[in-house]
Symmetry: C2
Subunit: 597 residues, 2 copies
């Protein structure tokens, strides 16, 4: 696949690079004196300076002949020079930041490129949303390489999304310069069952010579894993055990070892490398979902490399896992992921190797960040109005929340599990009051409603959840996977109505309410998912909201993440979408009130 992510195509500058290497023309930039982290040979090397021209590396070694008039010479004695980092699987929307603000947050941590799957915005706005995000990202120095969302909607037939993606859509995106592959194929049941529409989506990607990325979230390392890989899926970031990661690598599948804000897999999956004497070329380190708090505090891939080293992975090996291995996974190693002649001059200078302490960051040969600060200001991108008006829902009233019933009934209550993505189906006796079922804060039972917000269909899914530990108040959010309808939970209808209407008014976001008062609000006016404030501002907003959750009595870690999974019908055991309660074990709708308990 042709790389479209370097400033100058290699075809346009081979003669200049040869001129610079031969000393006939001066380099734009020379970095001297650093110890080279050579990811091609897994060596630490002294005496390998680097000359840059046209945004690419012209020479590595003794490059003194390339220094001339106009050459910027950086003395990096005492530092380590490594390729800048590539994240093999991320969702920008998880940060709730726009691509611009995300780029500004991660570049100072050494990230030069991301392989991102914009499936959240795609569920809301379809390929238009994907295009907007690509336009946004294109204004930044970050090489934002798009993988087309493969599963929109996540579970067809059980919810209403803003858009649908089929094989023809995927085929269209494969002609786009910014597209490098297919986003995580979450519909592994469709792959395993040889479902034609699912395989057609994969085929459209393979036919374009691009990479199919995976999501194989079951522990199987036998028939199912084989079938999934045999179907052409090249990588997977869902391993949570040592052996599932290793068995993927043994089958030529890139095991993308994840250390996200909410999912801390590395302590376990690093063992695939540390407990076995293996060639680690099929292992990568990725973030998947990173919250602004992590970006501000811990960092991005620098943090994950640090974590990998803490888990016993050699630092140079860990750096291979965020550079050349990632580039090889996507067939882009001819131009990305190493400090070598002809490659894009995407490089970092580290002041410490073990702790992966990033100082300077170069992208396409330009110094874009130093000491944790961006040195360049990407032009702002204004998401079009279509992306800023995505809550197609009129203000609601308590009537819209009503769940009619009579007498004592058995209700399927969705119980969340702290820190995990699953849920339990708890058949619970409830007694109607005034002809309806109400929340029961005393017994940790909250009412939950999912309002379809894309097409104005007026559909509302209603039910009950438990496990949040909230006795009084309401929470609402338009980040509600994957359809991102408007989800509200609460102990009383009045607070729930206020929460919903607050979000309608601000175009989406996250809100916490108690006694008619908004305790915390994170407006996400872009697709109901993102805001173009900085990571720092976003972090402050989200922290305030988290404080509100705690005020309300919730002790869950990342409670709004757990809440956001309530509608995600591909997770066990039951889920609530705008169409109603779904039994995710049998993939059937479930009546809220069980007639034959």
């Amino acid at each position: 696949m042709l790389n479209k992510f370097c400033r100058v195509p290699l075809t346009a500058c081979t003669r200049t690079l040869a001129d610079v290497a031969m000393g006939r023309k001066p380099a734009d930039l020379v970095i001297r004196g650093a110890k080279l982290v050579n990811v091609c040979t897994k060596e630490l090397l002294d005496g390998y300076d680097v000359a840059v021209s046209c945004g690419r590396i012209a020479a590595v070694g003794d490059v003194s002949a390339s220094v001339g008039e106009g050459t910027t010479v950086i003395d990096a004695t005492g530092k380590y020079l490594a390729p800048a980092f590539l994240d093999g699987h991320i969702h920008i929307e998880s940060s709730m930041l726009t691509a611009r603000e995300y780029a500004r947050a991660v570049i100072p941590h050494g990230t030069a490129g991301i392989y991102y799957d914009p499936h959240e915005i795609c569920n809301v706005l379809g390929l238009d949303g994907v295009r907007y995000m690509m336009e946004d990202a294109a204004k930044t120095p970050l090489k934002a390489m798009m993988t087309t969302p493969s599963c929109v909607p996540a579970v067809p037939g059980f919810e209403d999304t803003g858009a649908k993606i089929d094989a023809a859509d995927v085929a269209e995106t494969m002609t786009w310069d910014g597209c490098v592959g297919l986003g995580e194929m979450m519909n592994f049941p469709g792959i395993l069952a040889s479902a034609e529409p699912t395989h057609e989506i994969v085929a459209a990607t393979l036919a374009a010579g691009k990479t199919v990325t995976g999501h194989f979230s079951i522990p199987d390392t036998g028939a199912a894993l084989n079938a999934y890989i045999a179907a052409g899926v090249r990588c997977c970031h869902e391993s949570t055990t040592e052996m599932s990661a290793l068995e993927k690598m043994r089958r030529g599948m890139y095991a993308m070892l994840r250390e996200g804000s909410a999912w801390h897999d590395l302590a376990e999956v690093a063992k695939a490398i540390t407990r076995h004497t293996v060639d680690s070329r099929y292992a990568c380190l990725i973030s998947d979902d990173t919250h602004p708090h992590t970006l501000i505090g811990a960092g991005h891939l620098d943090h994950i490399v640090r974590r990998a080293v803490e888990e016993g992975i050699d630092p140079v090996t860990a750096i291979q896992m965020v550079t050349i291995n990632v580039a090889q996974c996507f067939g882009m190693d001819a131009e990305l992921g190493s400090v070598a002649p002809s490659k894009c001059a995407d490089m970092v200078l580290l002041t410490d190797l073990e702790t992966c302490k990033v100082d300077e960051v170069f992208i396409d040969g330009e110094l874009v960040a130093r000491g944790g600060k961006m040195l360049v200001t990407p032009a702002p991108y204004r998401y079009p109005d279509a992306a800023r008006n995505t809550i197609h829902l009129s203000p609601v009233t308590e009537k819209d929340l009503r769940i009619p019933a009579a007498g004592t009934v058995h209700v399927h209550v969705l119980e969340v599990i702290p820190g995990r993505v699953g849920s339990y189906d708890r058949l619970t006796e409830m007694t109607a009051e005034g002809g309806e079922l109400r929340a029961d804060g005393e017994h940790d039972i909250l009412k939950a409603c999912v309002f379809e917000r894309h097409h104005g269909t007026g559909t509302v899914g209603r039910g009950f959840v438990k496990g949040f530990g909230i006795r009084h108040g309401a929470l609402a959010q338009t980040v509600a996977h994957d359809a991102h309808n408007l989800l509200v939970i609460g102990s009383n209808d009045a607070d729930m109505v206020l929460a919903v209407n607050t979000l309608i008014e601000c175009g989406g976001g996250l809100v916490a309410v108690r006694d008619g008062k908004v305790l915390g609000l994170v407006p996400l006016p872009i697709a109901g998912l993102m805001n173009d404030i900085s990571a720092e501002e976003m972090d402050a907003r989200v922290s305030a909201l988290e404080d509100a959750w705690k005020d309300l009595g919730c002790t869950l870690p990342s409670p709004f993440m757990t809440m956001a999974l309530i509608p995600l019908a591909c997770l066990p055991e039951i889920r609530l979408t705008n169409r109603g309660l779904v039994d995710c074990r049998t993939f059937r709708f479930l009546p809220l009130i069980e007639e034959k308990p």
Copy 2:
């Protein structure tokens, strides 16, 4: 780049592969009980059986569920199962065999794929010749992946070839399914000098997303090597020292370590791996040029793996160097080079790992060879008449050999060097007899003539050579790099005329003559380079010719190889082409008789 070299495109069989992996359909083939040589993780693994369907691997591990009606089950207990081998750089013509016969010779040695540069036939017949060879190869199970000859002619302006290749030709071939890249860019001076036509040829390849293969035959590891790699060249098979191989790997260039019939580099270049603690992913093992005698006796890549192990490279690492590393060099590792689900079922069973003893060979899941014997018979390919009538030259007479002169003169005599590719320019006093200069067998000076044989221009280059140790007789051949004009050397004009006319009559080849008698003849009627006899027959013919050389008194190793280099004007110090004597140090024509010695 899309792989076109597997029997069934992956896009057409992902559902079937999933069915087989899941046990819903029976596999075509299951191999049980072998120890898996896992090139993805560099491990030897027990308990990894393999199920095959549609010519691809459906499952690896416990594949018992895939055994059903019609499944061929092979018990390979006690053997090693590895990916079949890929040769990253070869010239079929060096074997003097057609592609069919070459394939029949190498497949039983475990070779499933070759990246071949047909630059000999291309010098004679242009892209038509390349197409013929592709058609020939396509009838065999061998995955013959063509790299377009980049340097035809080798040294423009100094000889007449049958054809020329420019950037437009290269661009055309890049649209061919059978083309995977650019053949060895021998014109490294053109790359280093930023010559536009040379860089245009590279750019045409890069623009198609295909691989530029290299030929960097100077020991430089500084500015020149950087310039060459910066220009987009991805691999090189010309390293002859430990450090030149290692420095290429350190710059992300695939070091293709060569062990050909005539060039035995491995003892030295293997040290790049054995003396350094390096990741060897950028190292490959290749053959470049293999004679029928080597193919019959020692083998192909199995022999080179064996040699690598002898040099201290771990066997699994060595096998990586003829499988996955090669596939990664050409960006084809998604489908070739490993035993993993979705990959082409190109596999070998070895009875011994250290000695790389190949028993069964599978290509696209079909058992094609066992115990050193082909089990399938490729359909014959008849090269068209245009390829069989390439000696456009009328019978010659002694007059055509005449070198007029008077008195005693100083002559530039080309002295060959035993076992090396270079030559010396020896200014030698010679005295004319009967108005001409004649060979002087007593003093080891033979007359040499190069007859242009492509276009009937009638040009003849005439001169003298020494170093062959032949006192009486003549030798002629149409294998005469790279233009492959008709070259004759001899002690007397009568034998030389017979040698030339013998080759004209049989359409080209190699011949030895003494006293009006043909002592040995290898007819090469296809382009004057190849014959469609078997490798065994060719070996016998060539052996007989070598005996004739010895009879004539020549003690050089591979004397006809040394002779074949006499016209190759890119080698030092002087060369004789059909246009005359060339000074290869200054790239100027040299008068045979030096006026101012």
